[in-house]
Symmetry: C2
Subunit: 339 residues, 2 copies
């Protein structure tokens, strides 16, 4: 049996309350008492039982972060940022995977792990508005990422349309006229990619460049393999783009792989832009030009928003926030070529 407050109290000849006061750094304790208690704590190797504390306080200091998957470096890097920032605030982060599956996302949104966690940060892919509205009054929820909802929850996301415009304009500025877009999801109307797709379409259209559907390649998911396959389809269909803007870096990396295999040069024949600024992109043979969302800022905003809800009390108390962290275009070899 482990050592409890009571054990310490008995050994020190004081009450549990006093020990509790010492453990929690309460002010009004005689230095003498404090020292004696502290000594017994050290001797016995007492560790407070967090579970009991949680039960009593009604809060656990644990928040969940539900992401599609860690296999995508963007999410791994983001998770890293959230965990770090939260740790500085004495919050523990419980990481969960949804695999971008609606049933999983609904599970978390509905309050899976209720009362183990104080709140949830969720990055949805397939979740629908109705799923969110059907949510009971559980722990606070903060939404992350490019899906848009009409529900009263805080939402942290960069301006995806603006970022897509920036990326596309960069390609136009380099003289490219047949810019493809890879990553629209097959046959889904309100898909995650629609904001970036819109930014692309608006910009190419405004510039009088090609904007036909033949330049838009769908994918099943968001992996390197999806990118490689989509690029292959694009080339096989005879579309012959001189640039591609990809939904994310992984897709871009897959696309570059296909281009290389087909004997096409990046960027001379086809320029490539990704999205996410994952570390990996910097080490590609043609280092990847990309949109860099400010991950630290995203992490900070998400945790802060959750914390505000936690402190703020009731759901409706504060109006739902819409935070737009910054982003930047990072031009590299995949569009500029080797210096």
């Amino acid at each position: 049996m482990a050592i409890s407050l009571k054990d310490v109290a008995e050994h020190a000849g004081v009450s549990v309350k006093t020990v509790s006061n010492v453990v929690n750094g309460y002010r009004h304790v005689t230095p003498a008492t404090r020292q004696r208690v502290q000594q017994v704590i050290d001797e016995l190797g007492y560790r407070p039982n967090l579970t009991a504390r949680h039960l009593r306080k009604g809060r656990t200091g644990i928040i969940a972060l539900a992401l599609p998957e860690l296999g995508n470096p963007y999410f791994a890097e983001l998770a890293d940022a959230v965990i770090n920032y939260a740790a500085g605030l004495d919050l523990i982060v419980l990481l969960d995977h949804t695999y971008g599956r609606r049933d999983q996302e609904v599970l978390f949104a509905q309050g899976f792990r209720a009362r183990l966690i104080d709140g949830l940060i969720l990055s949805p892919i397939e979740l629908e508005n109705e799923d969110l509205l059907a949510r009971g009054h559980d722990a606070p929820l903060v939404l992350l990422g490019e899906r848009e909802y009409e529900a009263p929850y805080d939402h942290i996301a960069i301006d995806n349309v603006a970022a897509a415009r920036t990326a596309t304009r960069h390609l136009l500025d380099l003289g490219r006229r047949r810019i493809a877009f890879i990553g629209a999801r097959h046959g889904r109307s309100r898909q995650p990619a629609h904001l970036r797709l819109r930014g692309w379409r608006e910009t190419v259209t405004a510039a009088g460049a090609a904007a036909d559907d033949a330049l838009v390649a769908g994918t099943d998911g968001y992996t390197r393999r999806d990118g490689a396959q989509a690029m292959a389809r694009l080339l096989d269909s005879g579309t012959a783009p001189d640039a591609v803007f990809c939904y994310n870096d992984l897709i871009a990396i897959g696309a570059m792989r296909t281009l290389t295999e087909r004997g096409l040069r990046v960027p001379e024949d086809v320029a490539v832009v990704g999205f996410d600024d994952i570390e990996e992109g910097r080490y590609c043979t043609a280092a990847l030009t990309t949109i860099a969302p400010h991950k630290q800022a995203i992490a900070r905003a998400a945790v802060d928003a959750l914390l505000a809800r936690l402190e703020g009390g009731a759901e409706g108390a504060v109006e739902s926030r819409r935070v737009r962290p910054g982003f930047a275009l990072v031009p590299r070899e995949s569009t500029l070529g080797r210096p």
Copy 2:
């Protein structure tokens, strides 16, 4: 206030015990009662308070997985595997970072988060044997990775020497004679890399190939940047290797980047082998030949070992296990060239 067992009991006109029985799927409950209780549960939206359950049971069902960092895809992929396998066993995984820093590793080994977690899986980098021996009788601990300790803890790791031999032999078989090793850590004697270094040294020596120290390049860490810098130093020093075996895939990717920048071809001029089989390696311009540790098997072994301790009771009850999951050489373009 949230709905508790008691609330449900009152509404259903039964005792808390009965509700508890229903919630826990206890057998001996009349179907009629069960149905009535279940209905009230649904109506009221009752969710069991996990914290209270944990306190009562003395177990939380939460295990911690302390890894250096998620930024290394190998660890991200491993974490993914552990989380999934654990979920199937109704275990929640709490992910923590040590950044390969000894103080952080000691913290976890000493029982940080004691009594929040039932046990710990730790992948140490800098941790020393003495740190482990100084450990109190806290939650069970399972060690992961290539560091070796003389302490009574379960240890899961592939046979690193054998794996390094396989990788090196592969290069020898391709006719390479000046095989460099990148990733020995600067000026550390009992460094993590020493097993792989040994495998390399034994194999090149046995083959009568070059094994001089000029072919061994140290790094500060295990990132792409470390690999790029080490490769540059190797080339600048006039060593002129015709192959490199890298401590891990990230280092290999960084090394390939430098080779490309210097106008050297992979594998024609320099063949490259990595270690870890991260997804990223498959999409490099010269797809990376690598050693693939069986991550699923590692994850399974680690969780199983921890679970065995959890069930088995006392620390000394079971002898400490040494599990060696399998590995495989995956030859790709970075040694074989394009088909």
